[in-house]
Amino acid sequence: MKKFVLIGNPNTGKTSIFNSLTGLNQSTGNYPGITVDKKKGAVSLGTESLVLIDLPGTYSLEPHSVDEEIVLQEILNINEPIDAIIYIADVANLRRNLFLFSQICDLEIPCVLVVNRIDKIKKLGIQINQQELSDYYKCPVVLTSITQNIGLQELKNTLKNSPTKSAYKSLFKLNNPDFEKLREIESIKNDYWVWLVVHQKCSHKLFTLEEQKRIESILSKTSYKSEELLKEEAIDRYTSIDLLLNTVLKQKDIDNSISRKIDKVLTHKYYGYLIFFAILFLIFQAIYSWASIPMDYIDTFFGDLSVWTSNYLPQNRINALICEALIPGIGGVVIFVPQIAILFGFISLLEQSGYMSRVVFIMDRFMRRFGLNGKSIVPLISGVACAIPAIMAARNIDNAKERLLTILVVPFMTCAARLPVYTILIALMIPSNTGYGFNIQGMVLMLMYLLGFVSSIVASILLSKLIKEESKAVFIIELPSYQIPQIKNLVHTLLTKTKSFVFDAGKIIVAVSIILWVLASFGPGKAFTNAEQYVENTIDINNMNTYDDAVAAYKLEHSYLGYLGKGIEPLISPLGYDWKIGIGILASFAAREVFVGTMASIYSVGSKQEDGKTILEKLRQAQNSTTGKPTYTFAVTLSLLIFYAFAMQCVSTIAIVKRETNSWKWPIIQTFGMTGIAYLGAFLTYTIFS
């Protein structure tokens, strides 16, 4: 199948075009070795179809940040060459958009130039000579507007008949005999490819080892100043673009009066912040109040499903595995979907509308004090949903040190996985919901979020003093004109993000619940197999209710899981936890949200399914096996809250940090540092409050 890629500046409507061309035939994968999303989709063109890849938006082929490197690597990929490039340009900013396009043309890869947002030309007073543009670059030019549904069919027809060879002959000259020696290497196609290889070290790994050696030996013999040469290249390109635009484009002075008026309010020195915090407040309100309705239904549904299946299926081990491990496990994943969807929905709306760049603009100076960057605000907010996409969102921060700091402190933010743990612990700690006219549980929850944010800021201040890493990158961001967000894009984002969450996190959670169930259902030695006998000797047999529970408790204590929990009990008893909580904490190192499910399984293994008690009721009744007092006292619960706020308990996050920082050093420091703080904090909390 033919492989096409979509390239363009940021904020040109590239994603809308990708969504319109591929519909729901999309999949996200990862590029090997890095975690930048590789968005792929199939475009059907009547009888044939082609693979379309959406690349991150960039202003030039010279990468300034990690995500821009992807564009270069995909384009220069010699092993899987691309068949054609679809270049998306915004009609309102054709001059800048043609800069990257002129670089693309010099690659001599067949391309189609799409001039998007064509519906705006009347309002902007633009006249564009499509034919002249097409003649100059010797490629088809299609005018489109996704909002008005203009030009999509024409684009599809053009793609169908796209040539296999580029008609454009690059006029790019190296003017340097040393560089010209690189033409000897076969996989380097023309002078412009040489130029990219000379200036972009990250492109070298695309070549075979032998070629890499040759490239490096040639380049080591010559000295040059990349930055100056690249600036000259840029100035030359703009000179020819300006010449071309004289004949192609007629345009009045651009006046974004509507955007300016909005900006006056949104970036105002008081209202700007007020509005930003109001929006944050709205998002959190939505996560809690809106999401709680579907979450309650999901919770009840899976509880009932468990009971129903247990009664319907024949009573055996498989039944127990399904009802005690699988169904609660899957339920534990699905219950997050409403919260994740709401959060990603808001972030998608803020990004699409162009507001996110304004937040970056007004927050940059504030964040810089902590060693971060205005752009860190997006990862930090996303961190409230999940650290994984949040850490990936840090890749557009060009400054290496600020990017590293962002990656290191994002896991302090209260992610959605902590939410169910917090919810249940807070409910245990503060039984009554209202008091003094407030929702006290809600207040405590808000404090936990505040704690997450404050600790990430404090961590960042400390780390910025400790880490010595220089970066010359300059902070430059575009403030695009405001756009009305498109529902279609919103739906796409929601579907892909939720899908990847359910399947990626789901795999771990389901696996952990099955392992836990197996460990809890089997045990070594006679104490486990002959539990009934042991219990009969101690308890009044006539009281069947206590009898069953006692057998179950005895079995659990003597199962593999029980021994595991008891093994770590000495380590966690200073924090006030017993072995059952210990098991929950151990399991949580796979993913935090496993805690609730684990507690549910531990307290339901063996006990009668028909009672259909909720997890909260089970926990409230839990008793410390040695003292007989309730396990979850105020001090224990608070200590657990603190532990979960700080501990780095997420295998996926560790893996992402490893890939994004390209070393084991940072994830290891992060994991031990955070878990150490958690242990200390929980110890202090328990000591003070008990």
Partner: protein, 93 residues
Amino acid sequence: MTLFIFLFNLNKLICSMQNHRTIADLNLDETAIIAGDQQENIPLKLIQMGCTSNTKIRLRMKAPSSDPLCIQFGGNDIALRLEDAKKIAIESV
């Protein structure tokens, strides 16, 4: 004597630097052009976005404490930090 000449020259240099206005000195909505021969002071990314010597720019917005600044050139609204804006000299139109 050499020290004196050195100090004198240094003083002259500082004076001439003060005479040059930079992007950081622009008033809100004031228009100016980037001074000629500024290539080495303009960050590569900005040049690649089309802001070169002799480009007409306009100061559009200031974040609180005047940092960062938002300049407009052509169809671009670009934000940059004060420290970088201070390096780019401008001429009035």
